[in-house]
Symmetry: C2
Subunit: 408 residues, 2 copies
């Protein structure tokens, strides 16, 4: 017997026909002794449609009432999917987030799961039913409905698998696994049979879009293997877990990622005295702006001023500029320069810490291709270089070819 959670996203359940196809697929894969929980998102563009209606009522499309509204999307999906299973001869029961025991904090629109009490889910499984659970939603202590924000259905699936001590959580998606680079950029990118939670988290942070970091963290915390696989194929995909278990030709580097949703801020002529960096970054943190790749360079020893360079998400440029200029004025700096035409290219691998040649190989590949590196930053399991945005895909290709054999 395998106890498993399977998650299907909105595009997999976009129409009644597709919902029936999901039911058929789950049944085909299910051995009679297996216990299966299916987590689903709202149908296709339902969420967009609900948001549109809300916009006709108000310009405040946040808060408690938005979650009341949006949570209906998954509730429609679960009811229809449970009907599909029953129609195909398999007893099934649908459950809202609340009914499945998903408790959250009160951060409407982006709530965090605080606890899952899966006793009703387990008891329905024991009765031989397939349990269909609404992703993306939960309930506060006070009985208010919440949604979990972006990637919320993945989070529901992994957290529920953790709470039930499931054998595996399968995430069905439109790609068939985690690749050594974005296959749209690198045609020879390799699908990984396995990857560690830490590598996946680092790749997600550095631009890979397969999984939201939140659900990978949840898997890591509860020790749930996450199987990322294709809705449209029977082939196994990539299993995200704590350590490798399969024999596989070991690549030190597990992935090459790139991220063009990045902007570079240079704060020029900052007085080089204690607490200055704190003032700048505290102001940015207060505005919830994530800062990455911080570099501090001595510009002129005589004048005791330095330049601070860091990267942020493109979405934060306007706000970050205002903050940087305001703080800069107080600190009497020379100026703020923002460049949006940049990209971050990174290599990720848990084994790189003991392999000193990685950085040299990466820089060499970029140099040979005539690509200039503007900023470098490293972590225990990654190295990132900031380059010009229009060179990002070339950079991924040349780096990938150095670390991976280009044979298919």
């Amino acid at each position: 017997m395998t106890l498993m959670v399977k998650k299907f996203g909105g595009s997999s359940v976009a129409t009644p026909e597709k919902i029936m196809a999901v039911a058929q697929r789950v049944i085909n894969d299910k051995r009679s002794e297996d216990k299966v929980v299916v987590v689903v998102s709202a149908m296709g563009d339902t969420t967009d449609h609900l948001v549109e209606m809300a916009k006709l009522m108000t310009n405040v499309t946040t808060g408690r009432e938005m979650d009341m509204l949006l949570s209906t999307g998954e509730q429609v999906s679960i009811a229809l999917l449970a009907m599909a299973f029953t129609k195909l001869g398999y007893p099934a029961i649908s459950m809202t987030g609340f009914q499945a025991g998903v408790s959250t904090n009160t951060a409407f629109n982006k709530a965090n799961i605080t606890h899952i009490e899966p006793s009703r889910v387990l008891s329905e499984l024991d009765k031989g039913k397939i349990v269909v659970v609404a992703g993306f939603q939960g309930m506060t202590e006070d009985g208010d409905i919440t949604t979990l924000g972006r990637g919320g259905s993945d989070t529901t699936a992994v957290a529920l698998a953790g709470a039930m001590k499931a054998d595996v959580c399968e995430i069905y998606t439109d790609v068939d696994g985690v690749y050594s680079a974005d296959p749209r950029a690198v045609s020879t990118a390799k699908r990984m049979k396995e990857i560690t939670y830490n590598e996946m988290l680092e790749m997600a942070r550095l631009g890979a879009v397969v999984m939201q970091p939140r659900s990978v963290e949840m898997g890591k915390r509860y020790g749930v293997p996450i199987h990322v696989r294709s809705t449209f194929s029977q082939q196994p995909g990539t299993i995200i877990r704590e350590v490798y278990t399969v024999e596989e030709k070991e690549f030190v580097i597990r992935g090459v990622t790139h991220d063009t949703n990045v902007a570079k801020i240079a704060i020029l002529g900052v007085p080089d005295s204690p607490g200055i960096a704190y003032k700048i970054f505290a102001a940015l943190a207060k505005a919830n702006i994530d800062v990455d790749m911080i570099v501090q360079s001595i510009r002129n020893v005589d004048k005791s001023i330095i330049d601070m360079v860091f990267t942020i998400s493109k979405a934060d440029v306007v706000e970050a500029r205002a903050i940087a200029e305001k703080v800069g004025k107080e600190l009497n700096i020379l100026g703020v320069v923002i460049e949006e035409n940049v990209a971050k290219v990174s290599v990720v691998g848990a084994g790189m810490f003991g392999s000193p040649g990685i950085a040299a190989t990466m820089f060499g590949a970029l140099s040979d291709a005539g690509i200039n590196i503007e900023v470098i930053s490293t972590s225990e399991i990654s190295i990132s270089c900031l380059i010009q945005a229009n060179q990002a895909e070339d950079a991924v290709k040349v780096i990938h070819s150095r670390f991976f054999s280009d044979e298919a």
Copy 2:
């Protein structure tokens, strides 16, 4: 301060614009000290649309999963209406049936409210909020979502008003009150300022469609005055309550109703021995077929056989015929004759018990108009005659003109 529940049906909230108009209307009518709960149905044809989707999944559009599906309709309405109030500057909060404390039994699709615990509603009112509650839905002890079936939103509104000891429950609808006859049939029909619960129940039973009997019964049980009024007018409508309170020219008869959704069954040549009627009606009751206007006539004294005549709803004809023929065979009867081309016309009035001339006046009106009476039945507050269906509107007109002055 008035504590009130206002209920708006699906056609009143069919579009975002109409939802905004409902919010505006509620606010215009609200004095600052009033406490207002608004109960709403699903938007326009949302329920039909959801049923259509369910039919694409399965032919079993009943049971738990249907309620999971259908209850999303009201949840969308309440979220949007709460947003509309907030947009107009009035703090509001939406609540599902569950959140408003509506507990039901487990009869999915037609659940009965077993209990309402309105403490959260009352506490939000105390905070100065307008509370928007989803009609038509509740939750079982086990946490399953239920719907209340036809007229369910009215029932929610009246039951909630009862549980909160509200001063009044206002039902907003597309007619502006309860009339002495269907205004489409009788142009001189009069709007009643007040009518008793018992009269309204009898009128509903006998064909008036303004209110479902269930919510009127609920109002009677909890002593909540129900104000039936128009969504599109500021005029007061009709108040349904235990006894009259206003000075009004007293009509003994309060309404003339007609019902063409009726069929007559004659079971001919039934042996006239004890327990025979029980056998027939027990079999019908077991199939949930409501029987009305029962008449038993001696046909032939010598042969000791009788005819049994009764009426049922047209929807039950096929099943009733099968039952009558099966039971009839066992009883060795002469035959079963069913006539669908009939209508029931009735007069209703709580004061008629002490006015012996009512029946004579009604029969005289029909006789003068050349309308033949096939079956007569009476209750403490009504008299009904079964006639040919094509004479129903004429019958209502002539009876109405005898009991009501035709002046506008």
